[in-house]
C-alpha cells in the first residue's frame, strides 16, 4: 500500500458526484454544422485572424496567429468555409471576438500518422508544441511552450502530470487516463526530453483506482534506465489538483507567492495537456478537439464527449437529448470554480473541461446572512488566508485595504464559500476586493 500524499493546510471534501459519467467511454460527438472559434483561448493577447469570410479552410489549418506577446496559433477544427468574423458568447467575458466556420461535411476527417519524434531536437519539439496551439487545457490556458522553456536561472528537475481531477462531477481526465494512458505517458516522455530532465510524477486522486492502475502500467512500460515515471496516488481532498498544492503534496516544495513552479524546480502539466502534446509532437496534430464531461441531473444523457473546439453548448445539449425540467443552473467548468452561464449560445474552448447541468437539489442557492465569525473559512483555506475579513472589509466599503489578508494570493478555489454556514459568497467578495485592493 502506497501512502497517500496530500497538501497539509485546509481543503474540503465535497461529494465527488462522478458516478454519472466515470464509467462512460469517451464518445466522439458528430461535427455540428457550424463552429464558433473564440480568438482568445489562452492567457495572453488573443489571436489575429489569418482568414477572411468565404475562405475555404482545411481541418488543422491555421486560422489565427499571435502577433504580439504570449500565445499560440489557432487552427480550424474542421474543413469548411469561413462564415463570419464576429462575436460569440463567453462564460467569463460575456462576449468575445470569434471566427465562425461553416462545416463542409463532404470532406473526410484529416488523418495523422506517427513520426519519429525521438530524432528531433529540443528546439524542433518546442516548435511543434507551439505550432500545434498547445495550452494548459486543465483550465488556466497558459501556453505550454512557455512552461517548457523555464528561465535558465531556475533549473527544473521534476515534471508533475496533474491527474488529480479534484473538481466534483468532472471525469474527462479520468477517462483520458484510462483510455489514452500510453499516449499520455509518451507525451510525458516528450516533455521530459524538451526539459532535459529524468523524473516524472503522475499525481492521481485515490478515488480513481482504475486510472491509477492503467497509468501505473503505462508508466512502468515507459520507464527506462534514463527516464523514471512514477504514479503517485493522492488523498481525495479538494483542491488537490491546484498547482501549488499538488507540488507541495508530491515534492514537499512550496512555490513562493506570485512565482512560477519553475522557481522550485518543477513543471506541472495536466494529463490531458500531455495527451495534447503527444498529438502535437508524435502525430503532428494541432489542438482543436477537447474531451469534456457533460453531467448533472439537468441533462438527459450525461456523457464524456470528444468535441471540436468551437462546438456550441446548444449543439451538445441537442446531441445528448436535451435538458430535463429539473435544470436550474448551467456551469461551464467544475462546480467549485466554474462559471454559471445564462445562455446555451456559448462555444467550447480548448480549456472547457466540462459543462454541468445542475438540478435545484444539486446546488445551494440559500440567501446569505451575516458573518457569525465561526472561522471555518480560515480552516478551509489552503492558502492560509482570512476570507471572512476580506468579505467584511468589502461589505464595509473598504476593499482597498484587503491586501493585508493576502487577497492576491487567493486563487478562488471556493473552499471558504463551500464551508460557510452563513452561505456568504466569499469568492465574489474576493473578486470585488481584487479589483480595488492595492498590491
Amino acid at each position: 500500500m502506497v501512502s497517500l500524499l496530500t497538501f497539509p493546510k485546509g481543503g474540503v471534501h465535497p461529494p465527488a458526484s462522478k458516478g454519472l459519467t466515470e464509467n462512460l467511454v469517451i464518445e466522439v460527438m458528430p461535427v455540428p454544422d457550424e463552429l464558433e472559434i473564440i480568438l482568445g483561448q489562452h492567457i495572453g493577447a488573443p489571436c489575429t485572424p489569418t482568414v477572411a469570410p468565404k475562405d475555404a479552410v482545411q481541418e488543422g489549418q491555421v486560422i489565427g496567429e499571435v502577433t504580439k506577446g504570449l500565445g499560440v496559433p489557432l487552427h480550424a477544427p474542421v474543413a469548411g468555409t469561413i462564415k463570419t468574423l464576429g462575436m460569440s458568447g463567453h462564460p467569463m467575458r460575456v462576449s468575445a471576438p470569434s471566427i465562425t466556420i461553416q462545416t463542409n461535411k463532404e470532406v473526410p476527417p484529416a488523418q495523422y500518422s506517427r513520426c519519429d519524434w525521438q530524432k528531433l531536437s529540443k528546439e524542433e519539439l518546442l516548435a511543434k508544441v507551439h505550432g500545434a496551439g498547445i495550452i494548459g487545457i486543465g483550465g488556466a490556458g497558459f501556453p505550454s511552450h512557455v512552461k517548457l522553456s523555464p528561465p535558465p536561472d531556475n533549473p527544473v528537475d521534476t515534471l508533475i502530470l496533474n491527474g488529480a481531477e479534484c473538481e466534483p462531477y468532472i471525469t474527462a481526465d479520468h477517462r483520458q487516463m484510462l483510455e489514452n494512458s500510453k499516449e499520455i505517458v509518451e507525451g510525458a516522455l516528450v516533455i521530459l526530453k524538451i526539459l532535459g530532465i529524468k523524473k516524472c510524477f503522475i499525481g492521481i486522486e485515490n478515488n480513481k483506482p482504475d486510472a491509477i492502475k492503467a497509468m501505473t502500467e503505462a508508466a512502468a512500460a515507459a520507464s527506462t534506465r534514463e527516464y523514471t515515471l512514477v504514479v503517485q496516488p493522492l488523498q481525495v481532498k479538494y483542491p488537490q489538483g491546484s498547482e501549488k498544492q499538488l507540488i507541495q503534496a508530491i515534492t514537499g516544495r512550496k512555490v513562493p507567492g506570485f512565482a512560477l513552479p519553475s522557481a522550485v524546480g518543477v513543471v506541472v502539466h495536466n494529463v490531458s495537456t500531455a495527451k495534447a502534446i503527444y498529438d502535437a509532437v508524435v502525430l503532428t496534430k494541432p489542438l482543436y478537439e477537447k474531451v469534456m464531461t457533460i453531467s448533472g441531473k439537468g441533462i438527459r444523457r450525461p456523457a464524456n464527449l470528444l468535441v471540436k473546439v468551437g462546438t456550441k453548448v446548444s449543439d451538445i445539449v441537442e446531441y445528448l437529448g436535451g435538458v430535463t425540467p429539473e435544470l436550474s443552473k448551467i456551469v461551464m467548468g467544475g462546480p467549485m470554480m466554474g462559471f454559471a452561464v445564462s445562455s446555451l449560445d456559448i462555444p467550447v474552448t480548448k480549456t472547457t473541461s466540462s459543462v454541468l447541468f445542475l438540478a435545484a437539489d444539486e446546488i445551494d442557492t440559500t440567501p446569505h446572512s451575516q458573518c457569525i465569525r465561526c472561522g471555518w473559512c480560515l480552516e478551509a483555506c489552503p492558502m492560509g488566508l482570512e476570507p471572512k475579513e476580506i468579505a467584511l472589509y468589502v461589505e464595509a466599503g473598504r476593499p482597498q485595504d484587503t491586501g493585508q489578508f493576502g487577497v492576491f494570493e487567493c486563487f478562488e478555489c471556493g473552499c471558504c464559500a463551500y464551508v460557510c454556514p452563513a452561505k456568504r459568497p466569499l469568492v465574489q467578495f474576493v473578486r470585488l476586493a481584487k479589483m480595488k485592493a492595492k498590491r
Partner: protein, 335 residues
C-alpha cells in the same frame, strides 16, 4: 430561467440554523434535569426567557428595518443561556429585562448576529446582577431530593434560600463547605450529576460535558477554548488553594459554579471568541485565569461570567496579532 452566481455552485450542508438548533438541542438535557433538581420554575423561567428573547429580537429587527431572523435559533440560545446563568429562585420577570438588555443593546444595536462584542447572555446576567443584586446573589434553591418538582412553587424565597458551594467556600471557609456538601466521592458525584445549589443550567457537569462532546463530534466547536478554560481553572485553583500552595481541589473547582457551562457553551461563542487557534488558546487561558482570580480575590464567589465578558473585547485584538500561516506570502511582503 436558469440561475447564475459566482462559484462555488455546490456548498456543504451546514448552515447557521443547523448549528444554532443543534446547540439548542444540547442545552435541552441540562434544562430538563434542572426541573428535577430545582423544580418546575426553572422551566417557567427558561420559557419566559426564550419567549422574550425571540419576541424582542423580532420587534427590534422590525423596528430597525432589518430582515427578521428569529428562525435561525440564535435568540433561542440566548434565551436559554440567560435562564441558565441566573438563580432558580428569581422572579420569572427578571429574564424579560435580561432579554431586552441582551437582544436590543447587546446584539442588534451593535449590528445584529455576528457583530456583538460581548456574549449577549452574559451581558444580560451582568446587567441583572447590577440591577437586582439581592435576588441574583441569594435566590439559590437547595436541590430536591424527592422529585417533588412543584414543592417550591408559591413558597416565599426567604424560607428556602440557600447558598452556592462557591459562596460557602468563599465566606465561611472549607470547614463549613465540608459540613454542608460532604466530602470525597459522594461530593464529586453530586456535583457532577448536578445535585447542588447553583444557577439553573450550570449544575450538571455530566450533561454539559456530554452536550459539549456532541458539538465537538459534529465539528461545531473545537477543543481549544473549552480545554484551556477548564485546565487553567483546575491548575490555578490547585496552585492557590485555601490551605496554602498546591492545596486546592482542581476537580471541585471545575465542577463548581459555571465553569463547565462557560467553557463549553459561552467562552467559545463564535461571535465573541477569537477565530485563530493560537488566539483561542490564549483567550481560553485568560478566561480561566480571570475566573480563578475573581473567585479568590474578587467580590463575587463566581467569576466566569465577568472573565468571559472581560476577554470578549480582546478577541479582535488577539486575532489582529495572531494571523493564520500564509501558504506563500507575496515576496516583498503584503501591506
Amino acid at each position: 430561467m436558469w440561475k447564475v452566481s459566482v462559484s462555488p455552485h455546490v456548498k456543504s450542508g451546514e448552515s447557521v440554523e443547523k448549528i444554532m438548533w443543534t446547540v439548542v438541542a444540547c442545552l435541552v438535557p441540562p434544562l430538563v434535569l434542572s426541573i428535577f433538581i430545582f423544580g418546575i420554575q426553572t422551566l417557567i423561567i427558561t420559557a419566559v426567557s426564550v419567549a422574550s428573547c425571540v419576541a424582542v429580537e423580532a420587534a427590534t429587527q422590525k423596528a430597525l428595518g432589518r430582515r427578521v431572523t428569529i428562525g435561525d435559533g440564535s435568540a433561542v440560545i440566548t434565551g436559554m443561556l440567560i435562564a441558565f446563568v441566573i438563580p432558580p429562585g428569581v422572579s420569572p420577570l427578571l429574564p424579560v429585562l435580561g432579554a431586552v438588555m441582551a437582544i436590543v443593546i447587546g446584539k442588534h444595536l451593535l449590528g445584529g448576529i455576528g457583530y456583538n462584542i460581548f456574549n449577549p447572555a452574559l451581558l444580560a446576567r451582568a446587567f441583572l446582577l447590577a440591577t437586582f443584586p439581592v435576588a441574583m446573589t441569594s435566590a439559590w434553591l437547595p436541590p430536591l431530593s424527592d422529585m417533588a418538582i412543584f414543592s417550591y412553587l408559591g413558597t416565599p424565597i426567604d424560607a428556602i434560600a440557600t447558598a452556592t458551594p462557591l459562596a460557602v467556600l468563599k465566606t465561611q471557609g472549607l470547614g463549613a463547605f465540608t459540613d454542608q456538601f460532604g466530602v470525597g466521592a459522594n461530593l464529586y458525584t453530586n456535583f457532577f450529576l448536578g445535585w447542588r445549589p447553583g444557577s439553573i443550567g450550570e449544575t450538571s457537569g455530566l450533561l454539559i460535558v456530554l452536550g459539549g462532546l456532541y458539538l465537538l463530534y459534529r465539528g461545531y466547536i473545537t477543543w481549544h477554548i473549552p480545554v484551556t478554560v477548564i485546565t487553567t481553572i483546575g491548575l490555578l485553583s490547585w496552585c492557590f488553594g485555601s490551605e496554602g500552595l498546591f492545596s486546592g481541589d482542581p476537580l471541585l473547582a471545575v465542577l463548581s459554579g459555571g465553569a463547565l457551562l462557560g467553557a463549553f457553551f459561552m467562552a467559545n461563542d463564535y461571535v465573541t471568541c477569537p477565530t485563530n487557534k493560537t488566539s483561542q488558546l490564549i483567550y481560553g487561558v485568560g478566561v480561566g485565569a480571570l475566573t480563578v482570580l475573581i473567585r479568590l480575590k474578587g467580590g463575587y464567589p463566581e467569576g466566569i461570567c465577568y472573565a468571559i465578558l472581560l476577554m470578549n473585547p480582546l478577541s479582535p485584538v488577539l486575532d489582529g496579532f495572531f494571523k493564520p500561516k500564509r501558504f506563500a506570502p507575496l515576496q516583498g511582503g503584503a501591506k
